[in-house]
């Protein structure tokens, strides 16, 4: 048997049989190795625990878009004059692109001479259940507004047994408490949700995109950067980089929207848990002294053509039962004001915002 040379060895000498070292050297090597492996495991465990703690107590890793929006809202609130009325609009990407909060402040001031602090809390692919969650989180952060506008996205009212919105609200965005609370709105039972447990077992892996998006977003494709909360103005509003599109591009985008929405709208059943979530938001607002108003966002004629006959009336009737003011802004904009039939350009956002702020119902709030 050949002896292993007594030089520091990083990797075992390949191809040579191991032989006995002197006992003390061998013992020392074993102790060092044990210490290295155990300390590595311990640190790895600590990193995971830290990550888990962040997931449970903060939204920074598990819901970075909400986190960024809430940070911006905090800054906006601090910068606002002391006598300003605080307005927040909760909504989806329609709100993100449609509610020009900064412009709303201008219009309001011009109309009334008073100060308004408006913030756009639009987050893509969200509906009443997520908006309920946002409200609870804002309450916990002491960021409740004086006036709350809540967008109603008709497709997210769909509840054929399990609310459609559940598909767009992954378990990884929730902490344990929220996970339990959302079961009242049709969310799957927490102890069987695989994604929830995967995130708890390996939080660094499950949150890797939000971690990398914080450090170096250019390493990720655009849809995994979760930067919709950061690439906005200081009042949370965003707009497409281009404000004009060609006719071919419009046709292509409208076809995409058709593919996304047509089948859902054709079989839409506005009922059940999403409406219950809206009701709960309204109840919470009343309890907290927040004035609330529902908004049906603008839609181009091409988009409205996807609704089956009578569905819009059903939706309005359901919403009327909630007992709060409703602004039906669906017909407020022209086809050219949108880039895909329901997300407006900047000019569309300004038109909508101005009309919304000047609307009698909004004005009384």
């Amino acid at each position: 048997m050949q002896a292993i040379p007594l030089q520091p060895v990083l990797w075992l000498n390949q191809g040579q049989p191991i032989t006995r070292h002197r006992n003390s050297k061998k013992r020392s090597q074993r102790h060092s190795a044990l210490l290295a492996v155990v300390s590595g495991l311990a640190l790895y465990g600590c990193i995971h625990l830290l990550c888990l703690a962040n997931i449970e107590h903060s939204t920074e890793l598990r819901d970075p878009v909400f986190y960024d929006k809430s940070m911006s809202l905090t800054q906006s609130r601090r910068a606002a004059p002391g006598d300003a009325t605080h307005l927040v609009m909760l909504g989806s990407s329609r709100t993100l692109l449609g509610f020009h909060a900064n412009y709303a402040e201008e219009v309001f001031h011009n109309e009334t001479g008073k100060a308004l602090e408006a913030f756009n809390f639009g987050i893509p692919a969200t509906g009443p259940i997520y908006h309920w969650l946002c409200y609870q989180r804002l309450r916990a952060l002491n960021l409740l507004p004086d006036v709350l506008f809540v967008e109603v996205l008709p497709s997210m009212l769909h509840d054929p047994g399990t609310p459609l919105e559940v598909q767009f609200l992954p378990a990884e965005r929730l902490n344990t408490q929220e996970f339990q609370h959302l079961q009242q709105f049709g969310y799957p039972i927490w102890h069987t949700n695989r994604n929830y447990w995967q995130q708890r077992v390996n939080p660094v892996w499950e949150c890797r995109f939000s971690i990398l998006a914080r450090i170096s977003p250019s390493w990720l494709p655009w849809n995994l950067r979760y930067d919709w909360g950061r690439n906005t103005d200081s009042h949370g509003w965003a707009t497409p980089p281009r404000q004009q599109i060609t006719a071919e591009e419009r046709i292509e985008r409208e076809a995409q929207v058709q593919q996304e929405y047509a089948s859902t709208l054709a079989t839409l059943q506005p009922q059940g848990k999403p409406l219950a979530a809206l009701q709960d938001i309204i109840a919470c607002c009343r309890a907290d002294g927040v004035q609330v108003m529902l908004v049906l966002m603008p839609e181009a004629e091409s988009f409205q053509a996807m609704y089956p006959a009578g569905l819009q009336s059903v939706i309005e009737a359901q919403l009327n039962q909630l007992g709060v003011p409703i602004v039906n802004a669906r017909d407020w904009l022209m086809e050219d004001d949108f880039y895909d039939g329901h997300h407006p350009f900047e000019r569309g956002a300004r038109k909508f915002t101005e009309r919304l702020i000047r609307h009698p119902m909004a004005a009384t709030k």
Binding site: P8, W11, L12, Q14, G15, A36, V37, G40
Partner: protein, 501 residues
């Protein structure tokens, strides 16, 4: 992921293996499912008393079978069957001294293994090639191709079996009497699917050794495994994100994007394969086994001959020992040596894939080796040239040229020649087009990091530093390495390239 629907359909008929497939859906070392599988296997293995070595061998054998059967039960049984036959052939060879019989048994074993390899890997390739020739000469295609199960790792374990049979025939290795130990030599799951190609003389004695848990060895295993995970997730998969879209449609991208994609692909293939090997070596160490080193900084090679002493060492030494040397090696005239080199490299190319592009790739490397031999013998006769090339700048120049030549040849490392031709067109005819999908910055950071590590390793700096580090510093490094690999892993994982071989 290369997967055969036929493979999936047949598994569903066996409910136990269907359950197994659900729990271990992919044979990748860096998945949570596999790590859980390995943790269970290793825990039971080390809990078995040291004196019960045979029980440990059986346990590893059962685990290895399940590892392969989780992907394809039929192929797992096929490997078992051919392994038992290989064992029988070798035992019969050992029990007779009659040369013609021994030769017949050897040929039987080699034919069986090559037959299995040719059927699963090359049948459709050969039939398609014959049909193409028939069509070109105006005849109708005579053969129809059928869908065949993708046999992961078939090229590796058939070569191991062939090397064993030849070594027993030559008397270099004694025929293993213990069937489970021999089966473990073939089926040992760390090296089963993508090597390294293990030799019987290096592995079989380890199955007889009673192993004791050794923290030092465990540390080495953990280091290798983490290194492999880092190479796979951070370098290989990330480079795949950059190069795959470009190499799939080179004519739509700009010349600069295609050059960067070729660079990314070179790094990808190295990190992918060496990363897998490192994980395999690490896992083997954690079970008390040692596997052969398979890579030795190939992109710092000074010439193509040196490259093949550093790249896929287990394959290149196998080809040298079982193809090149039996053909006569380099002992004869220049023409004979050239012939031997070309045959060896053409077969090496064909081993990698059932397509003419791989054969061409192998042929080009054969040509490089031949040209290098000619140039080398000329340079040695001219001292000044020899001194110039051996100087620091000369060595740097040679490393760069070798890397460029090898990288440009990797373009052929794909199933279709037309795609490779499109890439070459784009590389050497300046054209505008789409840029890389992601920013170039991530590419240059990773390339710079990878080459810095290679140079630090080559100069011995890392080897000198490592033993001086306090164990807790090393432990911190392990944890940070793993967390960094997880964070930087791209969205979509990629299969290991060499699983296709």
């Amino acid at each position: 992921m290369v997967a055969s629907e036929a493979s999936r359909a047949s598994i569903t008929q066996w409910s136990y293996f269907q359950w197994l497939h659900e729990w271990l859906p992919a044979p990748f070392f860096h998945t949570q499912a596999f790590l859980l599988f390995f943790a269970v296997v290793a825990a039971v293995y080390w809990l078995i008393p040291r004196n019960w070595n045979q029980a440990r061998v059986w346990w590893l054998l059962v685990a290895s079978f399940h590892f392969y059967a989780a992907w394809s039960a039929e192929l797992a049984f096929l490997v078992l069957f051919t392994t038992v036959l290989d064992y029988s052939f070798a035992r019969l060879m050992a029990n007779t001294t009659r040369k013609p019989l021994r030769l017949a048994l050897l040929l039987g074993s080699v034919s069986m293994n090559l037959g299995v390899l040719c059927y699963f890997k090359y049948k459709n390739f050969f039939l398609d090639s014959i049909n193409e020739v028939l069509v070109k000469i105006g005849q109708d295609p005579a053969f129809s191709t059928t869908k065949i199960l993708v046999a992961f790792g078939i090229s590796f374990y058939t070569f191991e079996a062939i090397s064993y049979a030849v070594d027993v025939y030559r008397g270099r290795v004694q025929a293993e009497r213990n069937l489970p130990k021999f089966m473990l030599f073939i089926l040992f799951f760390p090296h089963l699917l993508a090597g390294p190609i293990v030799r019987a003389k290096d592995f079989l004695w380890q199955t007889h050794r009673r192993k004791r848990w050794n923290w030092y060895r465990a540390q080495v295993g953990v280091q290798y495994f983490l290194l492999g995970v880092f190479k796979k997730l951070v370098i290989a998969d990330r480079m795949a994100q950059l190069c795959d879209p470009v190499l799939a449609a080179p004519l739509e991208h700009s010349t600069s994007a295609v050059w960067l994609a070729v660079l990314a692909y070179s790094l990808r293939i190295y990190a992918d394969f060496s990363g897998y090997t490192d994980m395999a070596i690490g896992l083997a160490h954690l079970l008390g086994f040692r596997l052969a080193m398979n890579f030795n900084l190939p992109y710092l090679a000074v010439n193509v001959s040196d490259f093949w002493r550093r790249w896929h060492i287990s394959l290149s030494t196998w080809l040298r020992d079982y193809v090149f040397i039996p053909l006569g090696g380099s002992k004869h005239s220049g023409w004979i040596t050239t012939r031997n080199l070309m045959i060896t490299m053409l077969l090496g190319g064909l081993w990698h894939g059932a397509a003419w592009s791989y054969v061409l790739w192998g042929g080009l490397h054969g040509l490089y080796l031949v040209l290098h031999r000619i140039f080398n013998s000329w340079a040695r006769r001219h001292d000044r040239v020899d001194q110039l090339f051996n100087s620091t700048l000369g060595t740097l120049w040679r490393v760069i040229v070798t890397f460029c030549v090898v990288s440009l040849t990797w373009v052929l490392f794909r199933p279709d020649l037309q795609g490779a031709w499109d890439v070459y067109q784009r590389l050497f005819v300046f054209s505008p087009g789409r840029p890389l999908v992601l920013s170039n910055r991530s590419l240059w950071i990773i390339v710079g990091f990878a080459f810095s590590c290679m140079i630090l390793w080559r100069t011995g700096w890392l080897q000198r530093l490592w033993p001086r580090l306090h164990p807790t510093v090393l432990g911190t490094g392990y944890a940070l390495c793993l967390c960094t690999a997880m964070v930087l892993a791209p969205p979509l994982g990629k299969t290991f390239i060499y699983f296709d071989f």
